[in-house]
């Protein structure tokens, strides 16, 4: 891996390094912490990190959406879920499976495989996010959604409706 010559890129790379480190650390805490509420908060860190990554490659709209939807909605959902299910707010020794090692057995080879594959394919390929031609504006995104992906957009509307109705049915007390 050779760092690009341009200073801006150096800055970007440093920035990326920080974000990545934070994201990975956060992710690790999410899956290791004994405290469910802490896990949710660590998750916020990860989600933010991912959002930052989006910004880094110039996907502003997606980045914003990430923050709004995930941090704004999903994490709140998690917190509600945690409270509704009366999970212990503090430490809970009983959050892992007895067979937790299965996760390691699967995840480590998986990581190796994925890394090998992407490394093999893309080696030193660069993303030229700074060139304006490649910039993907929010308008482009919306054009795309309302032309090529129109059906998918409609479908997701129904998906959300159905999920809403169903989730209400399931979750409501009777």
């Amino acid at each position: 891996m050779i760092l690009a010559a341009e200073e801006a890129l150096v800055a970007q790379n440093i920035f990326f390094g920080l974000i990545a480190a934070g994201t990975i650390f956060g992710a690790l805490r999410v899956v290791t912490t004994k405290n469910v509420v802490h896990a949710a908060l660590w998750l916020v860190l990860v989600l933010a990190g991912v959002g930052a990554n989006f910004l880094l490659v110039g996907a502003e709209f997606t980045g914003v959406t990430q923050v709004l939807v995930y941090i704004g909605a999903i994490v709140v959902l998690f917190l509600f879920g945690t409270m509704l299910t009366r999970s212990p707010i503090g430490r809970d020794e009983d959050v892992d499976n007895p067979a937790w090692y299965l996760g390691l057995i699967v995840a480590v080879p998986l990581l190796a495989l994925l890394s090998y594959a992407v490394w093999d394919q893309w080696g030193d390929d660069h993303i030229d996010s700074l060139t304006p031609a490649a910039a993907q504006t929010t308008a482009d995104v919306s054009d795309s959604i309302f032309s090529t992906y129109l059906v998918a957009f409609e479908a997701i509307g129904f998906l959300l409706t159905a999920a809403l109705i169903g989730a209400i049915v399931l979750a409501r007390k009777e």
Binding site: A152, I156, F158, L159, G166
Partner: protein
């Protein structure tokens, strides 16, 4: 780049539009008042039948292929055939559900909404030729299904079924998405035709292989291929039986549709990867499914493993689909024929399970003892279904199996022959547990000596009638379905 409004062919969308209208109608009717409850099923059913109308008009229309969104959404004969399957299958499920839902303690209106949403997802899936669309359609058909599996809210088994189905579904989606992202990364395209046309995907690279395998693995969950099948028995057993019927037929068919269009259109050049992969999955599915089915005592669980095995048979033609245009035709035809026949016979079998459970309140195979003595009609019909599933002529299943064999033998490769032998051996193993059901019904005494006849509600009779008729007619005159299978040519997208 100015926005160009996409071309919309409303005729091509008509089936989905009718479904959406039905969805809205049921929603509104449900909201209006309690007294509409009994009507909801009827509305949903009528809506489904109504959506068959545009399917038929599309089928007879001159234009064989209607492509939109740059080939992302295609209505061809393949899509139409499967839409018809989803819609009719959905209709039968509604027939199965009517009394089940009304008599149990269920949320009726929402149930039909979920069902309709899921069916809508399937019909979209049949036309989807774009990774994004396939993903969304998959979620649209899956998420309501997760909830349907959990619909018997107070039954811990139903909870468990839903939880397992949901989690496994999400895991599989995750894998599939990762695979899709890799494919997208290699080609920069989401449209299947464009992916296939991309020079980047022509070669062999670990990442392509990884992408293809992950995508197939994701759908392998949907079609409950071993080793991604583990949810199936538990979910089938725990979910409300009509939902199980729905999952085992429609949802599985949805998975096959996606697999077919993905592999035969999108990954057409990667047959070196997916052919052997399907070979392995097919062989594993039928063998493991059958062997496990041998040991089951619960009929639904047994049917679950049986459907795992059946899924294996259906995967088999895909293992030889890439050899030639001819082989591709044969394989798609075989798969479609199998799906149609399988739909009829499996729905029928579940219909019987529902009917019998009305009296016995049990899913144990032993509760079927002596059924012939007090419910001869049901027994005969169930016999038809189980032996059709086993592939015994002249019941429908034989032709389905036959076309599978034919597709496997057609290319003349040793892999094809070997898989044909595996299918053959497995049919025999399968025979054992199918015959065991027949044995219980015909040859065993009634376990509790309770010989009160079973009252079968009309909607269930209707469902049984449809399934039985289809199973028998397709067995004797398989030419009908054979032609449909032959017509169901998959347009590679324009």
């Amino acid at each position: 780049m100015p926005f160009v409004a996409p071309y919309l062919d409303y005729h091509a969308f008509a089936p989905e539009l009718v479904l959406i209208a039905t969805f809205v109608a049921v929603l509104v009717a449900d909201l209006i008042g309690e007294r509409n409850k009994p009507l909801l099923g009827t509305i949903a059913g009528l809506g489904l039948l109504g959506s068959m109308v545009p399917v038929l008009t599309l089928a007879v229309a001159d234009e064989p292929v209607r492509a939109m969104f740059g080939g992302g959404y295609v209505v061809d004969n393949f899509a139409l055939t499967l839409k018809a399957l989803f819609i009719i299958g959905g209709y039968v499920v509604i027939l199965l559900s009517t009394n089940y839902i009304a008599e149990g303690d269920f949320w009726e209106g929402e149930y039909y909404l979920m069902l309709l949403a899921s069916i809508l997802g399937m019909t979209m899936m049949a036309s989807s030729r774009d990774l994004v669309l396939i993903f969304v359609a998959l979620e649209l058909l899956s998420i309501p299904a997760y909830m349907l599996a959990t619909w018997r809210k107070r039954d811990p088994k139903s909870n468990e079924a839903g939880l397992k189905y949901y989690l496994m579904g999400v895991f599989a989606t995750a894998i599939m998405l990762y695979g899709m992202s890799l494919i997208f990364g290699v080609t920069g395209q989401t449209g299947l035709a464009a992916i296939a046309a991309s020079p980047a995907i022509a070669g062999t690279a670990p990442v392509i292989t990884l992408g293809v395998v992950f995508v197939i693995a994701g759908f392998g969950f949907k079609v409950s291929a071993v080793p991604f099948h583990t949810w199936a028995p538990d979910t089938y057993e725990g979910a409300p039986t009509p939902v199980t019927a729905f999952l085992s037929v429609a949802s599985k068919a949805g998975g096959f549709v996606a697999l077919t269009s993905l592999c035969l259109v999108g990954f057409a050049t990667q047959e070196e990867v997916w052919q052997p992969l399907f070979w392995v999955l097919a062989a594993l599915s039928m063998t493991v499914g059958n062997l496990l089915a041998l040991r089951q005592t619960n009929i639904v669980r047994m049917l679950a493993y049986s459907s795992v095995a059946q899924g294996g048979y259906m995967l088999a033609p895909l293992a030889v689909a890439g050899h030639s245009i001819d082989g591709r035709r044969e394989s798609i035809g075989a798969l479609v024929v199998y799906l149609l026949v399988y739909g009829a016979m499996n729905l029928g079998a579940f219909a019987i399970v529902i009917a019998v459970a009305r009296k016995t309140r049990s899913g144990e195979i032993s509760s079927y003892g002596g059924l012939f003595q007090y419910a001869p009609g049901l027994t005969v019909v169930m016999t038809v279904f189980v032996f059709a599933l086993a592939g015994i002529p002249p019941l429908g299943g034989w032709f389905a199996k036959f076309v599978i064999f034919k597709a496997l033998v057609n290319p003349g490769t040793s892999a094809g022959y070997a898989l044909a032998i595996v299918v053959g051996v497995n049919s025999v193993i399968a025979l054992f547990y199918y015959a065991r059901i027949a044995q219980q019904m015909w040859m065993q005494p009634v376990p509790d000596e309770d010989r009160t006849p079973i009252r079968v509600p009309p909607s269930l009779v209707g469902a049984l009638g449809i399934c039985c008729l289809v199973t028998l007619v397709l067995g004797v005159l398989p030419g009908l379905v054979g032609e449909i299978g032959d017509l169901a040519e998959l347009a590679s997208g324009r």
